[in-house]
């Protein structure tokens, strides 16, 4: 560990120091931002160990690519993009070993979600934020990896359709249909959870 204490240094100065090879400055960045990076990895993979490994790999790549960070976005946003790309690579590798579910195949042809009845009553009305977080988390776990990825990138990362398509490597049409399916499925899951109360 270096002798210098970086705990009160701002992110911009930490990045500058880390670029010069100061590992202790980078360690402080890891300490500050490890939770949101891990959380993003978990929201995409839904596997704790995979999320730990992928967020660890993201930090290593972040160190190697520090020269490419020019401050156009916040450091967290930049790191989040790195971990998202790693998660998508990971999910692609997993998909090669997984059979497509019937839902996924039907979703591509636009069948399933058209038949779901519209959820008229807002299923999350009146819920406390903490309770809502639990329900959202449980519902996200029910989605397939592909649907969850699009939903997470749109809703949590505020990406536009075009950006999601480029990140995931699919057409804008595929993004739109996956997002639509994911949202309709989430609404149905949240409504079911409400009925169970």
């Amino acid at each position: 560990m270096s002798g210098q204490n970086y705990s009160s240094t701002d992110d911009e100065s930490l990045v500058k120091a880390a670029r010069k090879g100061e590992l202790a400055a980078f360690e402080e960045l890891v300490f500050r931002h490890r939770d949101p990076i891990y959380a993003r990895a978990f929201s995409m993979t839904r596997n704790e160990q995979d999320a730990v490994d992928l967020s660890q790999e993201a930090w290593i790549k972040g160190w190697q690519r520090l020269e490419q960070f020019h401050g156009e976005s916040s450091f967290t946003t930049w790191m989040t993009r790195i971990v998202i790309n790693l998660c998508l690579d990971h999910l692609r590798k997993q998909k090669r070993h997984r059979a497509d579910s019937i839902e996924e195949m039907d979703e591509e042809s636009g069948g399933v979600e058209r038949q779901m009845p519209v959820v008229a009553v807002n299923p999350t009305a009146g819920l406390e934020r903490a309770e809502l977080r639990v329900k959202i988390d449980a519902a996200l776990a029910e989605l397939s990896a592909e649907h969850r990825a699009v939903l997470v990138l749109h809703e949590f990362e505020d990406m536009e359709y075009k950006e999601i398509a480029k990140t995931i490597g699919c057409s804008i049409g595929t993004v739109m249909s996956r997002l639509f399916y994911a949202r309709r499925k989430m609404a149905a899951l949240l409504a079911d959870m409400r009925r169970e109360i």
């Binding site: 590992l23 360690e27 890891v30 300490f31 490890r34 939770d35 891990y38 959380a39 978990f42 929201s43 704790e48 730990v52 967020s55 660890q56 930090w59 290593i60 160190w63 190697q64 636009g110 979600e113 058209r114 519209v118 959820v119 008229a120 807002n122 299923p123 999350t124 934020r129 809502l132 977080r133 639990v134 329900k135 959202i136 988390d137 996200l140 939903l151 749109h154 809703e155 949590f156 536009e160 359709y161 049409g173 739109m176 249909s177 997002l179 639509f180 949202r183 309709r184 989430m186 609404a187 949240l190």
Partner: protein
């Protein structure tokens, strides 16, 4: 309502439509209750997610997580490469000289080994003795070695910690 219409409603909600098209869709939702209901459902889901992204913490301590990252960073630091020497004799020299040096060291080591009867015992005994470093300034480590069973006990403790040994701290023995 076909899939294309449904996706247009979603794009309208997400602000992804050009202005003229967005106005047309808005007008449609004001006339058609089914279209309005679908937009309302999509909007509710979007708002719920915007409010309630799950907050998670990394399930490993800071030190442990960082130690793995640091190790990998150092392992992957690129080694400097020397410029290749094109001449064949230079290439042979590059292989032979180190090979000769390594071989000479091995021969010297083997000669020393065979000519010094007690060296083996001393070497093994030194290797069996553990080297211990403590992380915290106010802690120490107690070492106990049972050579007959080949067991080493290393106990890290701060001043207030209970010893695993009854009565008093053990002393290292052979």
């Amino acid at each position: 309502m076909n899939q294309e219409q449904q996706l247009k409603l979603q794009a309208f909600l997400d602000g992804e439509l050009p202005e003229r098209e967005a106005r047309e869709i808005l007008s449609w939702t004001q006339r058609d209750s089914a279209a309005a209901a679908l937009v309302a459902e999509l909007r509710n889901t979007r708002q719920a997610m915007a409010k309630a992204e799950p907050h998670l913490s990394l399930p490993e301590s800071r030190e442990f997580f960082w130690s793995k990252i640091e190790r990998e960073i150092q392992r992957r630091e690129p080694a400097t490469a020397s410029a290749p020497d094109v001449s064949i004799y230079a290439a042979l020299r590059r292989w032979l000289l180190p090979a000769v040096a390594v071989g000479a060291l091995v021969i010297a080591g083997m000669i020393a080994r065979f000519n010094v009867p007690n060296a083996t015992v001393e070497t093994v005994a030194d290797a069996d003795t553990p080297t211990v470093e403590t992380t915290l300034a106010n802690s120490d480590a107690t070492t106990y070695r049972d050579a007959s069973e080949g067991t080493t006990l290393v106990w890290f403790s701060a001043a207030a910690d209970a010893s695993p040994v009854p009565n008093k701290k053990p002393t290292a023995i052979n």
